[in-house]
């Protein structure tokens, strides 16, 4: 029983970080139907920015989050204006190609600036844990989960209680309808992309304190994040959060009870089962065009 509870604790904490990182990916798809394959590379970029602030200014990764988010917001906006805007509305393969190209470009730039060697941020809470009898809660993961709750809570408030948020949801639900009621969908799309990359900035900052990373790490992250948003339902923020928690607990439980080789397979088996039984994902919405297809 202790083992099961420990598995759940670790799984939920890992899942919370995944949720923070996946939220932007699903938000971007929801509004502009762009599968952003550069999302993993943006996460690694945020990790490197955090590393630089920590190494050169001694700034704690938690304190650097607002700076990293602001920088990533700007990066997201610029990438949207220079690349995504031109391919948005094209066939999905075009956006996939474009965002994959951005990922490769970012990998090259990061390698040029920081080198292609593994990097890690070590702070006082990296190795520390809170003991609860026979159980333990890793401090760094607890902090990451707390930040995930704060950022995702803020995102919820933004989407539901601000004009910009309502405009984002309107553009997501029905782009033509949003245009008709005066929403500037182009601006909203840029804002959404920037917000998506910005929230990922917080995830990348915490990633840097938990896992070593290098420019090429983004392939592993994008595979995980895509699995999460597909499981939760592409475009659904609550779905991404739920999917992240399922994948997080699934990975830890699979290692604990099936073996160390299984965490790679189990999430995808879960996804296959979900997609067979519920093709739109756990909380995804079935669209009219899906029904026609």
């Amino acid at each position: 029983m202790t083992s099961l509870i420990q598995t759940l604790i670790l799984g939920l904490l890992v899942g919370a970080l995944y949720a923070l990182m996946a939220s932007g990916l699903t938000l971007i798809f929801g509004v502009m139907r762009v599968i952003n394959l550069a999302h993993g590379a943006f996460a690694v970029l945020a990790a490197f920015l955090t590393f630089t602030l920590w190494q050169h200014l001694g700034l704690d990764p938690i304190l650097s989050i607002p700076i990293v988010m602001a920088v990533m917001f700007t990066v997201g906006w610029l990438v949207y204006i220079t690349v995504i805007r031109h391919v948005r509305g094209s066939h999905v393969s075009m956006t996939v190609l474009a965002t994959f190209g951005i990922a490769l470009m970012l990998e090259g730039i990061m390698g040029f600036i920081w080198g292609n060697t593994s990097t890690a941020v070590r702070v006082s809470y990296t190795d520390a844990s809170i003991a609860l009898g026979p159980l333990y809660i890793p401090q760094v993961m607890l902090i990451a989960a707390g930040i995930a709750v704060l950022i995702l809570g803020g995102l919820y408030l933004l989407l539901n209680h601000t004009w910009a948020g309502r405009a984002i949801r309107a553009a997501s639900a029905n782009e033509s309808g949003a245009l008709l009621v005066g929403v500037s969908v182009a601006t909203i799309a840029a804002l959404t992309f920037a917000i998506g990359v910005s929230t990922l900035g917080a995830g990348g900052a915490m990633l840097s304190t938990i896992y070593p990373f290098l420019p090429g790490s983004h392939y592993q992250w994008i595979a995980r994040l895509l699995a999460i948003v597909v499981l939760g339902g592409l475009g659904s923020l609550p779905g991404a959060i739920l999917g992240a928690l399922v994948i997080g607990v699934g990975e830890i439980a699979a290692t604990s009870y099936l073996g160390a080789a299984w965490p790679v397979a189990v999430p995808f088996l879960v996804i296959i089962v979900v997609l067979i039984t519920r093709p739109q994902g756990i909380l995804g919405t079935r669209l009219r065009e899906d029904a026609v297809a």
Binding site: L10, N116, S129, P138, P212, L214, I252, S256
Partner: protein, 403 residues
């Protein structure tokens, strides 16, 4: 509109293809220079070791040219990035041989990449001196041109360490062991070799499992080892997984008295920064190289490396340099590079003095020697075994505890 979209798609695809493949063109060899080709993982998962190996190759080329070159000709090394993918490594070696017309090749970094790469050299009857070919699977294919320029294959890498543990007095010898390992043709056999010796000494295996390279969360693995009561952990690691394992062990409060990791602790400063000096303390590892060793050209190598790159050379850089020394010894002794079967025959029958010490080979190209056992002590990588070459007589447990 449709044509614009198609044009964008073509341009985008071309840009990506260009980025992935790099630009290469036929560059015929003019005969005035000896061109040596190598594919290395300069990006991707194994880039840490790949870059170090590249530095070793470059240092060897510079020192060789300063000493008059090979066969009286200057040497040039052409390195291609394989991004830690087997297909690209194979493609790189094919291009180096067929388009760049290199005269000689040197191996890539990691058995994973060298297993397919060595087949390209074999097909082209080219000598393949390899700085990182520890997997025993390299030597059961009947190849004639492959030579591993370190002291022993992976199954024997932890041999000296495991035999030392097995010969500890019974009251100090651990009774249970855990063997987590990366699913990799090098890391797996290291652990298997150690387990064989430790099991024969009566040390019971209480945990053994392989994890894929994509594994990020080691907490459940650590929990399983801790719950199984393993007193010694022998991990077959690359780099990041070694760092992650130590971090997870700390978070779980799991403190086995003895920790051995392959590869990861040999990355020097990167490892210290990843796990922290106090957590590196007492970690055992096998090492092919010590910067303090009084071996052929080592003092000059260390000096040149510090001038070029700053800091002491890491193990992979030294292994790269040693591969160059082995290649040079064979070429110089034979006096020609036209028939590389003769170079291979010479290596099979001779010993080469390198910065790693003397190297000699079996008929299949696997080396005959033994590794050094290193241990992190006070932020310094010390050689602790065999005792006749040790740089210190002190051996401590993990995090400085007793054994």
């Amino acid at each position: 509109m449709r044509s614009t979209t198609a044009l964008r798609a073509i341009v985008g695809a071309a840009a990506i293809a260009l980025a992935l493949s790099g630009c290469t063109a036929d560059t015929p060899n003019n005969g005035d220079t000896i061109k040596i080709g190598a594919s290395l993982p300069l990006t991707g998962e194994f880039s840490q070791g790949g870059l170090d190996t590249q530095h070793g190759y470059e240092t060897w080329v510079e020192m060789t040219n300063e000493a008059g070159g090979l066969l009286g000709k200057p040497v040039e090394v052409i390195v291609r990035d394989d991004a830690t993918t087997q297909d690209t490594a194979v493609s790189n070696y094919n291009n180096l041989i067929s388009k760049d017309k290199v005269n000689l090749v040197l191996g890539s970094q990691s058995s994973l990449l060298n297993i397919p790469s060595s087949a390209v050299a074999e097909k082209n009857d080219m000598l393949f001196v390899c700085p990182s070919c520890g997997s025993p699977d390299m030597y059961n294919r009947g190849f004639k041109y492959i030579f591993f320029s370190q002291q022993a294959v992976a199954t024997d890498q932890a041999k000296v360490f495991a035999e030392w543990i097995a010969n500890l007095p019974p009251d100090r010898r651990p009774k249970t062991a855990a063997y987590p390992s990366l699913d990799d043709p090098f890391a797996g056999p290291v652990v298997e070799g150690a387990e064989k010796i430790l099991s024969a000494a009566g040390i019971r295996t209480v945990y053994k499992d392989e994890y894929p390279a994509t594994t990020k969360n080691f907490d459940p693995i650590v929990n399983a080892m801790r719950d199984a009561g393993a007193e010694i952990v022998v991990q077959g690691a690359q780099f990041e997984d070694g760092v992650n394992m130590i971090r997870s062990m700390n978070r779980a409060g799991y403190k086995p008295s003895i920790v051995y990791q392959s590869s990861s602790p040999t990355y020097g400063q990167q490892y210290l920064e990843g796990v922290g000096e106090q957590n590196a303390e007492g970690v055992f590892f096998s090492s092919s190289y010590s910067s303090l060793a009084k071996t052929n050209q080592n003092a000059e190598f260390v000096k040149k490396f510090e001038e070029k790159f700053g800091g002491l050379p890491p193990e992979d850089a030294a292994d790269g340099f040693a591969a160059g020394q082995v290649l040079a010894a064979a070429v110089t002794a034979v006096g020609s590079i036209d028939d590389q079967a003769k170079l291979a025959d010479w290596l099979r029958n001779n010993t080469v003095e390198t910065i790693l010490g003397p190297l000699s080979w079996n008929a299949d190209g696997s080396p005959k020697g033994e590794f050094l056992v290193g241990q992190w002590q006070g932020g310094v990588s010390q050689v602790v075994l065999p005792t006749n070459v040790a740089t210190t007589d002190k051996i401590v447990g993990w995090q400085g505890g007793p054994i």
